[in-house]
Amino acid sequence: MRELMLGNKAIARGLFEAGVCFVSSYPGTPSTEITEEAAKFDEIYCEWAPNEKVAMESAFGASLAGRRAFCGQKHVGLNVAADPLFTMSYTGVNAGLVVVVADDAGMHSSQNEQDSRHYAIAAKVPMLEPSDSAEALEFTKLAYEISEMFDTPVIIKMCTRIAHSQSLVETHERIDVKKTYEKNIPKYVMMPGNAKKRHPIVEERTRNLIDYAEKTPLNREEIFSDKVGIITSSTCYQYVKEVFGDSVSVLKLGMVNPLPPELIKNFAAKVKKLFVVEELDDVIESFVKSLGIAVEGKNILPNIDEFSQNLIAKSFGKLVDSGKLTVDGNLADKLTNSLKTDNCELTTDIPPRPPVMCAGCPHRGLFYTLKKNKCTVLGDIGCYTLGAVPPLGAIEMTLCMGASIGATHGFNKMLGKESENKTVGVIGDSTFVHSGMTGLANVAYNQSNSTIIILDNSITGMTGHQQNPTTGFNIKGDPAGKINLEALVKAMGIERVKVVDPYNLKECDEVLKEELKAAEPSVIISRRPCALLKYVKHNPPLKVNSEKCIGCKSCMKIGCPAISMKDGKAVVDSTQCVGCNVCSQLCPKKAFE
């Protein structure tokens, strides 16, 4: 059947068709929907793991057991899972093991824009890169064959534009693959004596994979011109075709590690001028140069941000314009015309619209309290990172998941009394279980006088509301194990544990002051479910009594998107307000009704 399918859903469909039995992932944009969609197939066991490392190790165990397994994550997730990945390259697999890493060039939803291809090279594992949903599905199935044929984990690299765009796919039936587990200590126990014997096997495998890369239909030539040739992959292939159509020759790479030297040399020999079009780093370009072939790439294209058809047209347009590249008349006009774009004047005075916490978000009251108390807030990653934007502007540091606690510990150890009574680390429930627990173990063990606030909104909010080990439900929404945060924190050796309701500003303020004053580590759990959860019952929207409102803007300090000033009075947008009453606690005239 032919249907329109999201790239991530196509990967999930590929998992189904490939007979995959086990999926363990941790959410992260733009990879999340793969696992959510896979969970809709009864034939596949799916779970959210506490973090990517656990997910990857669980998938490895399932492969060892003889069942095809999968683990998906965003680019930075692979940093967390890098440890098992590098050594899984040595052990190899039993049943096929495929890993998706989804890059986010342009940083639509990420804290950096690292290029994951470096991981495939460093870990010496093959990497495939689809350029639309149909390829996402087909490459996924092929990845399992490669995994079993070459005894290696295989990485599929996605990017935001492939993961989150829908295009046509053809679906097929599921196949059944089961292998038996056999004890094999030299292969699976990676201690020095065994690992020394596995490393040459890895190098031999890479040589075999290069032979495969030379011949596989994953890499294909589209020869249309002897003047210009472009080596490209993924979404860049689509932009190149959009701009050039069939007027230049293209070497489209579906397998980006290892790269095929002979194929590239042959292609280069067929064209007068060779280019590489790749987002982010110059991975393919450097390889081509290492073969002694003259090529252009990053000298005309950026190594930051994502590409688009206009960007490519302009970059080549400049070459044509300056006489450094000659192409046929029509194409030359198209390319140079792209250099003339006039912006519409109306778009110049448009205020930006950055993301904000939702109306009724439980994080808001807590950040208001932190700001009011002039706290130094070391932050973490989640919806609550939005506590850094005006008017709250409360967070002063965000690095990676879990870093809030480690950083608060180090900060307090160095500044002592100067910082202890005003510094807090803030971390979400999902992030705390992901990688905050070990940080807290350090606070408890090495005793820094730190105050840590766990923002427990009972969900993994930022990535679109996934369950996690603190919510009591699994990926299918069925009841599951539930971590008791208070008991866990106490068991680690933190004696002072308080729970507050972030909708209650007075309570937040009192408890915060008390815990900052205390001369020992403490944890405050700010607990109230995310306002977008279906089971949360909302109050009717509030209204401002304009007779009572004196226009003092006290209520504006919380930065709620539902409150604005019109003609000197506060007004509430009834389409957004959920009646959380945080604003009304700030009004000196009790104008909210």
Partner: protein, 192 residues
């Protein structure tokens, strides 16, 4: 057929995902190659969002670039203005007139520009503007703004009404079908 481009713009959380899903379904049913690029993640939290819908004989790029859009379908008037550079010289705008203040306006750091529809018309943009929120409420739910907009957009397409209805049926839960059909009709007959 040469590829046609639609951008759907609005504020994260306003329901553009459903609109693009219905459009994708519809265009596929008409035999086109289709690509739809969505927004997930951070900007869905009240940020400015843009969804791309492209269709034709063969579609390569999943995104629409500046100067390429045949249509801007917009949920909010400030967002219409933000993405005007994406419109082709003769492109058509179908927009809701609703205003949602962005945070810089709420905090007083910026001003919400006034009379945007008039300013666009003065610059000779083809603007079809209406209060979709009112029409959606009339249909029974303020959430149906997306369907009101689609109803309006259907004017500009040579696609039989029946096909639109089928795509609605395939993508909205049966419980809300009547409401959405009404929203579609109200959008369709609205005075632009």
């Amino acid at each position: 057929m040469k590829t046609k481009n639609i951008i759907i713009v609005g504020v994260g959380g306003q329901g553009s995902l459903l609109a693009s899903k219905i459009l994708g379904h519809l265009l596929l049913s008409q035999g086109y190659d289709v690509k739809v690029s969505e927004v997930h993640g951070m900007s869905q939290r009240g940020g400015s969002v843009i969804t791309y819908v492209r269709f034709g004989d063969k579609v390569y790029s999943p995104v629409v670039d500046k100067g390429e859009a045949d249509f801007i379908v917009s949920f909010e008037i400030l967002e219409t203005a933000r993405w005007l550079d994406y419109l082709k010289p003769d492109g058509q705008i179908v927009t809701n007139t609703q205003q949602i203040d962005p945070m810089p306006v709420i905090t007083g750091a910026a001003k919400y520009p006034e009379n945007l529809v008039e300013k666009m018309k003065a610059k000779n943009f083809k603007v079809d503007a209406m209060n979709c929120l009112e029409l959606a409420k009339k249909a029974g739910s303020q959430k149906a703004v997306n369907i009101v907009l689609l109803g309006r957009l259907s004017h500009y397409f040579d696609i039989p009404e029946e096909a639109w209805q089928k795509s609605l049926e395939a993508n909205v839960p049966p419980k809300f079908l009547e409401l959405n059909k009404k929203a579609f009709e109200l959008g369709k007959i609205a005075e632009g």
